[in-house]
Amino acid sequence: MPLFEGLGSGGEKTAVVVDLGAAYTKCGFAGETGPRFIIPSEIKRAGSPEAVRVVQYNINTEELYSILKEFVHLLYFRHLLVNPRDRRVVIVESVLCPSHFRETLSRVFFKHFEVPSVLFAPSHLMSVMTLGIQSALVMDCGYTETLVLPESLERVPILSAWEALPMGGKAIHRDLQRGMKIQEARFNLDGSAERPAPPPDVEYPLDGQKILHVKGAIRDSVAEMLFEQDNEEKSIATLLLDTLVKCPIDTRKVLSENLVIIGGTSMLPGFLHRLLSEIRSLVEKPKYRDALATKSFRIHSPPAKPNCTAWLGGAIFGALQDILGSRSVSRDYYSETGRIPDWCCLSTPLPDSVYEAGKMPPPLMKRAFSTEK
C-alpha cells in the first residue's frame, strides 16, 4: 500500500462500513479484509448497572435517538478514530429492518454527525458479493432471527421469496436459561439412530466465586431447538426448502447449488454439517419431494468468518468509489426530502433522477417537435 494513499493523491477517503447487528456490531473501513472491531451492540449508561441494547425496535424515537447517538459516537471516537464529516458511510442492514429504526439511524448520521452520505446495503446481497457469483441462496442465522433471501442473476434479491424464523442465538440463550432448571431435554429425531451418550459435564467458573455446572445433556440438546420443527413444521432447515419452493422453477437448481450461510449462530461447531443433513433428509419428505426436483445442495465458504461476511461485502462495495457516490443518499438529498428511500415505500423520489429532482413530474410522452407550451 503506498504511504500516502487517500491523502489527496486523487480519490476521496475510504468509507466507513458498519454492520449493526442485534448482538454484535462490526465496524471498519472499506477496502479492508476484515472489520476493525466486533463490539457488542450495547452501551453503558450511568444510571443502570446493565448495558442498554442498541438495536431495539419497540422504544420511542427520542430514546432510540439518544441511544444510537451515543453508540455511534463510541464507534467513531473510541474504535474508528476518524472524523465523521469526512467519510461516506455504508450501513449493512437486514431487509426486514423496520423503517422507523432506519430513519432514526439516518437522522443520527446526517443531523448529528453530518456525514456526507449514507448507503443502506442489504446484508444478503452483500454476502453474495464476497463470492463473485451471480446467484445464491443466502441464509443469515443471527441473534434474533434467521432470514433467508435468494439472490439471482445479476444479484437482484427475489424479495417475494423471503422466509424468516425467530430462531437464533437469542432463542438458544433463552432456552439455556430455562434449561439449567430443566434437566431432561426433548429429542425429536425420527427414530433413526439412537441418541448418543451425552457429552461430559462442564464446570464453568463465573466471576471467580461461583461455578456453573452445565450438565452434558444440556450441552447437546439446547442447539437442537434450531432444528426442531414447531407446530407449523418450521425449522431452520425447512426455511431453505420453503424458499426454494417459492422461487421460480428455472432458478431453483442454480440456487440450491449455491447456498451461503452467514451469521454468528452458524459458527457453532458442526452447524453446517447438521444443516446439510437435515435438508437432505427433509427433501425426501412428501411435502418437498414433489415440489422440488433438485436434490443436490452445495454450500459456499466465503473468504471471511460467517459473522463478518456481510460486513466484508459492504467493505468491497464501499471500495468502489466510482459508484458509491451515486448510489448513496447524500446529505443534500436528505435535507431536501427529510427521508431516505426505502424498498417498501413508493412515494419517495429517486435520488439521482433522469428528470429534475422532484421539481417537475416526469414529462409525458409527446411527439417530437411539438410546439405545445
Binding site: 487517500g6 472489520p35 463473485g132 461430559p200 458442526g270 454450500i299 471471511a304 468502489l320 466510482d322 411539438s370
Partner: protein, 466 residues
C-alpha cells in the same frame, strides 16, 4: 462520582436543539455567538492520535497506515493488558567458533497480569527487543483484493455507461421524455419548453468529451467461488472428550481478532495496541473551535479552552437550613466572578408560565438589587491582608464578600409537602467580549461593549426536613 463541590446541584440551561440542563463545569461558552454550548450541540473532531502505554504521538498519516495501532506496544490476547518485553539469556554458539558458546539475549513478551507469554502460542523468541514481532496475516487477503479489483472494473464500466447515456445521440423518433439530450436540441433548435425542462442539464462542453473506447483495458476476470458438496462434520470426540476450559477462548477474546477468531487459546496471537485520540470541539453555528488540546500527549493543557466556568459567574450552594412546607427559609448561595473586570449581576424570578421553568417545586425570592462582583485578581490570592474593597453591601442581602466572590441570601418557600425542593431563577450579567473587534474601534472608545446575557439556573436543595 461524588465530589466535594457537588456540582450536580446547580444546573444551567442550554438552549440548543434540545434544552439540556447541565452543571456549569461541563459546559462550553462560544464567545462569538455569546451562548452556552453543551457537549451535545458541538461537533467533535479527532485531533491527534497517541498510544496509551508509550504515550507516543502518531501523525495521522502513519496512524492510517498502521490501522490505528502502535508499532511498539502489544496487548495480551487473554486479558487485554499491555505486554512487556522480557529478556533471558540463552546459550548460543559463536558465529566464528562453533565449539564455544556464549550467552545471547532472547526476548519474549509476557503479561504481568495473567502470566501469559508469547511462548504459549509457539512464537519463537526474538533477538531484537522491539520490532521483531509480526502479526499473522489473513489468509484470504489475496482473494479479497482480487474481488475488489474485479468489482472496480465493473464499477468503472457502469460509470462509463452512465456518462455515455447522458451524452448519447438520441434517435429522432424516440420520445423526448426519457433522455437528456443537448445535441439534438442544439441541432434542431427545438422549442424553449425543452430547454426550460433541462435547466440542470450538463453543460455543452461535456459533449466534446470523447469516451476512450479504444483504450486497452486488461480484462480482469475472477473465478467464481466453488461450492462444496460436503462439509466437515462435528469431530467424533466432541461427545467423549472432556472440555479443557483453559484452552477454549471466550467470545470476547475471539472477537478481538476479527480476522481469525480462533477457538483455541493456543492460536491467540497478541495484537498491537490500539491508539487513543484527543478530541477538539467546534461550535456548530459559527464553526469556531471551542476546545483544542495540545499536540503533545503528555500535556493536559489546551491551546484553546473556551470553557463556561471562565466566562460565566458560577452559583454554588453554601448552606441550606431546614426546609419546611410553606415556610420561608433563607438559603446561602455564593457567586464567583471568573473574569478580571467588575461584573454586575442581577437575579430575577421566573415568571408565571415560563416554558423553561418545569422543575421547580418551591417559590423563591431573590434579591432585587444588582450585585456587584469584583474582578478576579490572581495576585490577591497570595495577599493575606485583604484590603477593603469599598463596596457598600446591604447586610440583608450580602452575607460576606471575599475578593471575587460574594455570599448572598435567597428566600425559599417550598410548595409541596413531599419530594425534593427545586428552585429556578434567571441570572443576568454583563459580559465583555474580549475577542478582537471586526471593525477598528474609533478613537475614544477604549473598552469593548458589554452585552447582557441571561441564563436560567436551577438549584436542587434536597429533601424537606421532617
Amino acid at each position: 462520582m461524588a465530589t466535594l463541590l457537588q456540582p450536580e446541584k446547580v444546573l444551567y440551561l442550554v438552549r440548543g436543539e434540545k434544552k439540556i440542563r447541565v452543571p456549569l463545569s461541563q459546559l462550553y461558552f462560544c464567545r462569538y455567538c455569546s451562548e452556552l454550548r453543551s457537549l451535545e450541540c458541538v461537533s467533535h473532531e479527532v485531533d491527534s492520535h497517541f498510544c496509551p502505554s508509550c504515550l507516543e504521538n502518531m501523525p495521522s498519516a502513519e496512524a492510517k497506515l498502521k490501522k490505528n495501532r502502535c508499532a511498539n506496544c502489544f496487548d495480551c490476547p487473554c486479558c487485554m493488558h499491555t505486554l512487556s518485553t522480557r529478556a533471558t539469556n540463552i546459550p548460543a554458539p559463536l558465529p566464528d567458533d562453533p565449539t564455544k558458546t556464549t550467552m545471547k539475549k532472547a526476548y519474549y513478551l509476557a503479561c504481568g497480569f495473567c502470566r501469559w507469554t508469547s511462548r504459549d502460542v509457539g512464537m519463537a523468541d526474538k533477538s531484537v527487543a522491539s520490532g521483531g514481532w509480526q502479526e499473522p496475516e489473513n489468509p484470504h487477503t489475496q482473494r479479497i483484493n482480487k474481488l475488489i479489483e474485479y468489482y472496480q472494473q465493473l464499477a468503472q464500466r457502469e460509470k462509463l455507461e452512465r456518462d455515455r447515456k447522458k451524452l448519447a445521440r438520441r434517435r429522432p423518433f424516440m420520445p423526448q421524455a426519457f433522455s437528456v439530450n443537448i445535441h439534438t436540441t442544439e441541432k434542431y433548435g427545438l422549442g424553449t419548453r425543452l430547454q426550460r425542462q433541462r435547466s440542470g442539464a450538463p453543460i455543452i462542453a461535456l459533449y466534446g468529451l470523447s469516451l476512450k473506447e479504444g483504450e486497452d483495458q486488461k480484462e480482469i476476470t475472477i473465478e467464481s467461488a466453488q461450492a462444496l458438496d460436503e462439509v466437515e462434520p462435528l469431530p467424533e470426540d466432541y461427545y467423549t472428550r472432556p472440555v479443557n476450559l483453559p484452552e477454549v477462548t471466550t467470545l470476547r477474546q475471539r472477537l478481538l481478532q476479527p480476522d481469525f477468531q480462533p477457538a483455541g487459546a493456543s492460536q491467540l496471537h497478541p495484537r498491537h495496541k490500539h491508539l487513543l485520540m484527543k478530541r477538539s470541539l467546534r461550535c456548530r453555528k459559527c464553526e469556531h473551535n471551542l476546545s483544542k488540546p495540545e499536540f503533545n500527549p503528555t500535556s493536559i493543557k489546551f491551546k484553546i479552552q473556551l470553557v463556561a466556568v471562565s466566562y460565566i459567574p458560577e452559583v454554588r450552594i453554601m448552606s441550606i437550613p431546614n426546609l419546611r412546607h410553606l415556610k420561608e427559609s433563607q438559603v446561602l448561595l455564593t457567586l464567583t466572578n471568573p473574569v478580571e473586570n467588575i461584573t454586575h449581576v442581577s437575579l430575577y424570578t421566573c415568571e408565571e408560565g415560563d416554558p423553561d421553568d418545569i422543575n421547580s417545586t418551591a417559590k423563591v425570592l431573590v434579591p432585587s438589587k444588582e450585585l456587584v462582583l469584583a474582578g478576579k485578581d490572581a495576585a490577591a490570592e497570595y495577599d493575606e491582608l485583604a484590603e477593603p474593597q469599598g463596596f457598600q453591601d446591604d447586610p440583608d442581602v450580602v452575607a460576606f464578600r471575599k475578593s471575587n466572590k460574594i455570599g448572598f441570601f435567597i428566600k425559599v418557600i417550598p410548595q409541596r409537602e413531599e419530594g425534593d425542593v427545586t428552585v429556578a431563577f434567571k441570572l443576568r450579567h454583563d459580559f465583555r467580549n474580549l475577542a478582537a473587534p471586526i471593525r477598528p474601534t474609533e478613537e475614544g472608545e477604549a473598552t469593548s461593549e458589554a452585552i447582557w446575557l441571561t441564563h436560567h439556573v436551577e438549584l436542587s436543595l434536597g429533601p424537606l426536613a421532617t
